[in-house]
């Protein structure tokens, strides 16, 4: 139509631009796993690992430092329980193994299933927090009216940077009964 000399074919530019649009759309979705991986490596979002760590037998306890670990708890939206730590905070040395109990009370007359999700702030600390045992590793069946005491055993990696003197470990306890079904709750946990 135009009498000008096109410098390149219109359709080849359009194809490239449309391809870029598709790539950027896919990139948006690719950011989801990339972000997850990135957070895992850097502790960016304060998630802790959901598999048990094994404490190294000849780990050195660093008695020169005392770290304050605070515990925060929250119930997920609409979750019918009372959920709290036995102590609000503890002071510990890096390399020392500690156990803290969390208490959850199912206030309904039904069997429910709970799942706790941990988060650490500042996020960097999550890289040095190693749990050898945690109720958050598994779904927690809660029989009607049951009060459960759930232990969490952990230590801090002696490599913990000096800049971290205090951090918060928080748990949100979600009600996941609707997703998994309450059939999972069989015998009471005391057995």
């Amino acid at each position: 139509m135009s009498k000008q000399q096109p410098k390149a074919d219109n359709s080849s530019i359009i194809t490239k631009l449309l391809a870029s649009v598709v790539i950027m759309f896919a990139f948006g979705f690719a950011l989801v796993p990339l972000y997850e991986k990135f957070c895992e490596m850097t502790g960016f979002n304060g998630r802790t690992s959901n598999t048990a760590a094994t404490a190294d037998g000849n780990m050195q306890v660093d008695e020169s430092r005392i770290i304050t670990v605070e515990f925060a708890t929250r119930t997920g939206r609409g979750a019918p329980w009372e959920f709290k730590p036995e102590v609000r905070s503890i002071r510990m040395h890096p390399g020392e193994i500690k156990v803290v109990n969390f208490i959850v009370e199912n206030r309904t007359g039904q069997n429910r299933v709970a799942q706790a999700l941990p988060s650490v702030s500042p996020g960097e600390a999550s890289l040095y927090l190693n749990k050898t045992e945690c109720f958050c590793f598994e779904q927690q069946p809660l029989a009607a009216g049951e009060t459960a005491i759930m232990p969490m055993q952990f230590y801090l990696d002696p490599d913990l940077p000096d800049s971290i003197r205090r951090f918060t470990l928080s748990y949100v306890m979600y009600d996941i009964t609707d997703q998994v079904g309450s059939g999972a709750v069989t015998a009471s946990r005391s057995e």
Partner: protein, 531 residues
């Protein structure tokens, strides 16, 4: 700079200026000038509509306590105001200017893809119809802010979210089509001799903006899709209970959002770079550095998104990275301001309305840039974040920045569009009313923000009452001042005024001034020769 060798006029056959009439002309038009006009009127309508919503907000905030609207409706107003102004007013205005001016500036007969051009405009009104109609749904329209953070937009939103998402998809498609059109036009339709480094800066800035659009609008489309599937299809992108992360929403949104704010300012830079030399009667100082500064701003805009998220508990290294990157953007931005000021230095300046708006832009945009630098300082942002200080910042860059530049452009090119000179008296009245009121409106927001007044609440602590009353008065003055603008534009559109010569501004440069005013329906059917 350039001369038209073959006057486009002589090349015309009679039937060429023939155009269809009535509604069909506008519905089926593929003419870049018609489509430009449609975009500009549409954006003006959205500007007035979004502005009325802002006045509802200011009415409620005139006094402490709840008086005019309920909090849920207030939230709908802030959301709609933001979405309409960003996607309905500023972006379509720039696309309209691009449609009108880019072919004229590079000596092309039309945009490269005229049929797609028609589509990219005509889907827009439907997007906004859908968005607006969502306000009549049970539970009301979107009320989660223009940033639609999860979980506000997922767990806690009403079903109007589905319409919101759909509308955003359509707006995104429209923008992407517009951007493709601009890129292909600029790459393929330049007149012989119009090399890249001879293109007017408005063309350059739009060229770069179009690439930004191609890069980030698809990401926006992805985020709204994730919101939709999280809300309706059981995915957990942003739901911690299902293994997702609500903070991820903010990363994705601002990965789009920060480049988006540059999408709304780069074309302004182009406009100001056209107007200041014209009225200072001197060529633009540092043309090449302007091009490189624009490109580096665009590049850097991908590396600063988390300055909107300093308070989400990022590790120190990330905060520092984003803080320094953000401050780095001030360097190319400073280069631009320097170049504009230097262009004026010892120029033979006159102060017609386009120049007045351009000068106001330079000063007020810089104020917005400076508050931006303050916000970029991570530790102080902990105090300023989500206060009215942020509101003051982005209104300085967007209203007295982007919107003022659009008004400057409208006055500068109105004679070319309409064929008559606009009413200079009314235009000056519009300028001075806008200039005074915009500062009454936004400047005091800095103070209440620093004093701790949070944004997005329908009520506030008593000690903020006086300043909010002043701000509201400024808001109404600014709002009603825009009716003068409407009046001026309607007068010009109805050809009431002195006929304009081909080049009404003595110092203006560029091919658009070599075609008659009003620009004929078809221009540059024979390409001009650019020397």
């Amino acid at each position: 700079m350039s001369t038209v060798v073959a006057d486009s006029h002589d090349a015309h056959d009679e039937h060429h200026d023939h155009k269809p009439t009535g509604i069909k002309r506008w519905l089926f038009t593929t003419n870049h000038k018609d489509i430009g006009t449609l975009y500009l009127w549409f954006s003006f309508a959205m500007f007035l509509l979004g502005g009325s919503m802002a006045l509802v907000i200011r009415m409620e905030l005139f006094q402490p306590g709840m008086q005019v609207v309920d909090p849920h409706f207030f939230n709908q107003m802030t959301t709609m105001h933001g979405v309409i102004m960003v996607f309905g007013a500023v972006m379509p205005a720039f696309t309209g200017l691009a449609n009108w001016m880019i072919p004229l500036m590079i000596g092309a007969p039309d945009m490269a893809l005229p049929r797609m051009n028609n589509w990219s405009f005509w889907i827009l009104p439907f997007a906004f119809l859908i968005l607006l109609s969502s306000m009549f749904m049970p539970g009301g329209g979107p009320a989660f802010g223009w940033t639609f953070y999860a979980p506000l937009s997922t767990t806690y939103s009403t079903d109007s979210t589905a319409l919101f998402v759909f509308a955003m998809h359509i707006m995104g498609m429209s923008s992407i089509m517009g951007a493709i059109n601009v890129i292909v036009t600029i790459m393929n339709m330049r007149a012989p001799g119009m090399t890249y480094m001879k293109m007017p800066l408005f063309v350059w800035t739009w060229f770069i903006t179009a690439f930004l659009l191609i890069a980030v609008m698809p990401v926006l489309a992805g985020v709204v899709t994730m919101v939709l599937t999280d809300k309706y299809f059981g995915t957990s992108f942003f739901d911690a209970a299902g293994g997702g992360d609500p903070v991820l929403f903010q990363h994705l949104f601002w990965f789009f959002g920060h480049p988006e704010v540059y999408i709304m300012i780069l074309p302004s830079f182009g406009i100001i770079s056209a107007i200041i030399p014209a009225f200072a009667r001197k060529p633009l100082f540092g043309y090449a550095s302007m091009v490189y500064a624009t490109a580096s701003i665009a590049g850097l805009s991908f590396l600063v998104w988390a300055h909107h998220m300093f308070t989400t508990g990022m590790p120190t290294f990330a905060s520092l990275f984003f803080m320094y990157m953000t401050m780095l953007i001030a360097v190319p931005t400073g280069v631009k301001v320097f170049n504009w000021v230097t262009t004026m230095w010892k120029g033979a300046m006159t102060f017609e309305t386009p120049m007045l708006f351009a000068l106001a832009f330079v000063v007020l945009f810089t104020i917005g840039g400076l508050s931006g630098i303050m916000l970029a300082i991570t530790p102080v942002d902990y105090q300023y974040h989500d206060t009215y200080f942020v509101v003051a910042h982005f209104h300085y860059v967007l209203v007295s920045g982007a919107v003022f530049s659009i008004m400057a452009a409208a006055y500068y090119w109105l004679p070319k569009w309409s064929g008559v000179m606009y009413d200079e008296f009314l235009a000056k009245l519009h300028f001075w009313c806008s200039l005074v009121s915009v500062n009454i409106l936004f400047f005091p927001m800095h103070f209440v923000g620093l004093a701790g007044m949070p944004r997005r609440y329908p009520d506030y602590a008593l000690q903020f009452a006086d300043i909010n009353a002043i701000v509201s008065v400024g808001g109404f003055l600014f709002g009603f001042s825009q009716l003068i603008f409407l009046w001026v534009v309607i007068k010009a559109a109805r050809k009431q005024g002195v006929p304009a010569p081909a080049k009404p501004w003595e110092g203006a440069e560029g091919l658009e001034w070599e075609v008659p005013s009003p620009a004929p329906y078809h221009t540059f059917d024979t390409p001009p020769k650019v020397s």
